[in-house]
Point group: C2
Chain length 445, copies 2
């Protein structure tokens, strides 16, 4: 076990659960520990307060003519319940079977700490870094980063940079270095179908009034055609076509084949839009998903009511160049035009954000590819992410810089779940990657 | 206020809530009070224990050659919460605006007590009744009558009868005497659509796996065609056509017109199977209703998950001559054939019972019509009920006798709700009705 792994264990021992106010002291102590570690590696570091948990900032000496790189990570973690499912205590890290087990090992302590270790090694070996580096570690990612964007907006000049590096995503499979260059956007809304003024006896009134649960189901069913395509008029109007190189590369990417998805999700079968592979469906095609539906009696046994209302929560994953507000308007129009007259339909728009896309073949993208190749000893794959990472949008909008997503997580790292783990090999590759990456990025100037 | 109304108040003061074990003593005391009241009217009476709350039995002297009539009622009541919505305390009955307010005033104390008062008056006036009467008052109707059928089965000879009289249903409107001669049956089932092994992140997996909530909605949507007709193959195969006299009578029945239903339910519009009036839809046409649907995140805000499963509770109201088991088999076949391959569908059959139907033009039906006409001073309407009353099935199956449904409730009597009330006029008409009814029934022999 190398010295960095010992230090990572110290970092993992802090129960820095940001959502639980009883752990606020642990979050603060974790930030102090990181500040000290960064200082010991030869950089300056400070704790910066926010209205919530603090941000840890680290900087080397910035010099004229060098590339400005912002390295982002978060030191807060998810809660640990259900505790009884953990095979070893979540805040007592240990190695078993080549993996480091503990809450935060992958998300995100293990990933950003690998970068900090790489920086420390470079400082030891060379006395300086090849770029102007600013480290930004927040303590509120798991609660939606409520204070990060205001913090960035208040300190635009300080955090101005050429490129941003984030290791908080995944590799498609073990040993396959992965560069993410896109994220799907999101648009959420919720609708309620309202019928009778109160729950009705389904014997006394069944057959003469419209059942809101039935209408809600019909509206949900209307969102897709039989081929799995979203059936909302104009939904695909602005969808950018896949490029040929993407189709070719993604066809070879492991982990997003049918078997990989079935193994990880436990789904009985694959399903999706006709004419596209799973990778294309995940990374380059928009979706319409029901995230929640509820109405009437949901307890044990039966209660023969026609419920007064039924609620549906929807979210749409978006791709370039769909516009979230436009999509929400089209969804609203679709739902209203498909709703029968016997009920009242109320729609409320929720949060939304555009898809993110950068060019993996830009000079920074090429530097990232080179760093992945050298540190993992394998050709990197270029992918997009199916999910949405709001901070990446914030960086783009506030700082005007693109983000390289150099994920080190594996699909079975159990982030947010019991038995979170991080392969030692990925930790070590992450340290190597940071060193090569800063070198390669430094050479782009 | 007549003497009976004072006595009804005494009966209403017992908080005989059968579902609440802390009120078991009140239920028992209520039974004792009824036994005494029946004895005071000159009949014999006794309390008969069951594994739950007791049954009160009353009998006059049974003589050869007379009609055997069973009079059924229940002296237990629904709980009273939310208590703060009551305008006067639920167990402190009072008269306001021509109505008696209190829990149980309509359901069912006021209704069966009117019969007891009629019996008492006849006994006072004539010293005997024109029929062999057996009174059966149970204390568990509001919890599903778990012990009534076993009690009847154990005492078949004792309760053998020619006809059964029940006042526990409704009049279509104030001043319109109503004879019920049919009830819809019911068949319940529940299905669960299962997809991934756990809730999935809708960004990471949205688009490549089947969303169980979407499939559940599609299955619900498949149950009806656009005209509001149930779209399950063979669902209408055994449905008996309406008779001409029913169509003609029901067209004139007040209260089941559009406006009546909208006023009582608060629904924004009428809705139902094309080609049928509201009365026909309610009383003579079968339905498919969602009673509950639930899956995924139902809390505040959004949580972008693809939930592992979604549950739907269905019930089907049945009419003559649909067979419940046959309907459940057809529902199962329909759901299975409409379910896509990306999920697992699990269906569980629930409770069921056939529709009930008797002839309102039989000699007993004619006697009931005559009693209603004379006691209310108006021509009675003949209707069926949209709901299902299991005890009526039990009477038919165990005792082999038909039931006359001589309801005294009005649509705004608020049964099961705060501010339950019973019009004084209906109480008084009920007393008159009992006297005429026993006379008319006695004359059928």
């Amino acid at each position: 076990m190398n010295r960095w792994q010992e230090q990572l264990y110290s970092l993992l021992r802090f129960p820095s659960i940001s959502t639980d106010s009883s752990h606020a002291g642990d979050v603060a102590a974790c930030a102090e520990w990181l500040k000290s570690m960064i200082q010991e590696s030869g950089l300056s570091a400070e704790i910066r307060p926010t209205p919530g948990h603090p941000v840890v900032i680290g900087k080397n000496e910035h010099k004229e003519g060098r590339l400005n790189v912002l390295l982002y990570g978060h030191y807060d973690v998810q809660p640990v319940d259900p505790l009884e499912l953990w095979e070893s205590p979540p805040f007592e890290p240990e190695e078993r079977g080549g993996k480091i087990w503990g809450r935060g090992s992958t998300d995100n302590k293990g990933q950003h700490f690998a970068h900090l270790c790489g920086v420390a090694e470079t400082m030891e070996e060379k006395g300086e870094l090849p770029v102007n580096l600013t480290i930004l570690l927040e303590g509120e990612e798991e609660i939606g980063s409520p204070n990060l964007r205001p913090f960035l907006e208040a300190n635009r000049e300080e955090f101005a940079c050429d490129v941003i590096v984030v290791s908080d995503t995944g590799m498609v499979a073990a040993g396959v270095p992965t560069l993410g260059y896109g994220l799907r956007g999101i648009a959420c809304c919720e609708f309620v179908v309202k019928g009778p003024a109160r729950d009705l006896h389904s014997g006394c009134y069944g057959g003469v009034v419209c059942n809101p649960a039935t209408v809600a189901a019909q509206l949900v069913a209307s969102l897709h055609d039989e081929g799995g395509r979203v059936a909302i008029e104009g939904f695909y109007d602005d969808v950018a076509d896949l490029e040929d190189w993407e189709r070719e590369m993604w066809a070879k990417v492991p982990g997003v084949s049918g078997e990989g998805i079935l193994a990880v999700t436990g789904s009985p079968a694959l399903f999706g839009e006709e004419g596209f592979s799973s990778a294309e469906r995940l990374w380059a095609r928009p979706t319409a998903e029901v995230n929640g539906i509820g109405g009437g009696y949901q307890g044990e046994g039966s209660k023969t009511v026609i419920a007064a209302e039924t609620m549906v929560k929807l979210s749409f994953r978006l791709v370039p160049n769909q516009k979230p507000a436009d999509i929400l308007a089209k969804v609203r129009k679709h739902l209203e035009s498909h709703c029968p007259s016997g009920v009242i339909l109320e729609i409320e728009d929720g949060h939304y954000g555009s898809a993110y896309h950068t060019d993996p073949h830009s000079k920074y993208g090429k530097a990232a590819q080179e760093a992945l190749k050298k540190s993992f000893g394998a050709e990197p794959v270029l992918i997009r992410e199916g999910g949405s990472i709001p901070i990446v949008q914030d960086f783009k909008e506030v700082l005007g810089a693109d983000t390289l997503l150099l994920g080190l997580a594996l699909p079975d790292c159990q982030i947010h779940s019991p038995n979170e783990n991080f392969p030692v090999a990925n930790f070590e590759a992450g340290i190597r990657m940071n060193k090569v990456l800063l070198e390669e990025l430094g050479a782009t100037v």
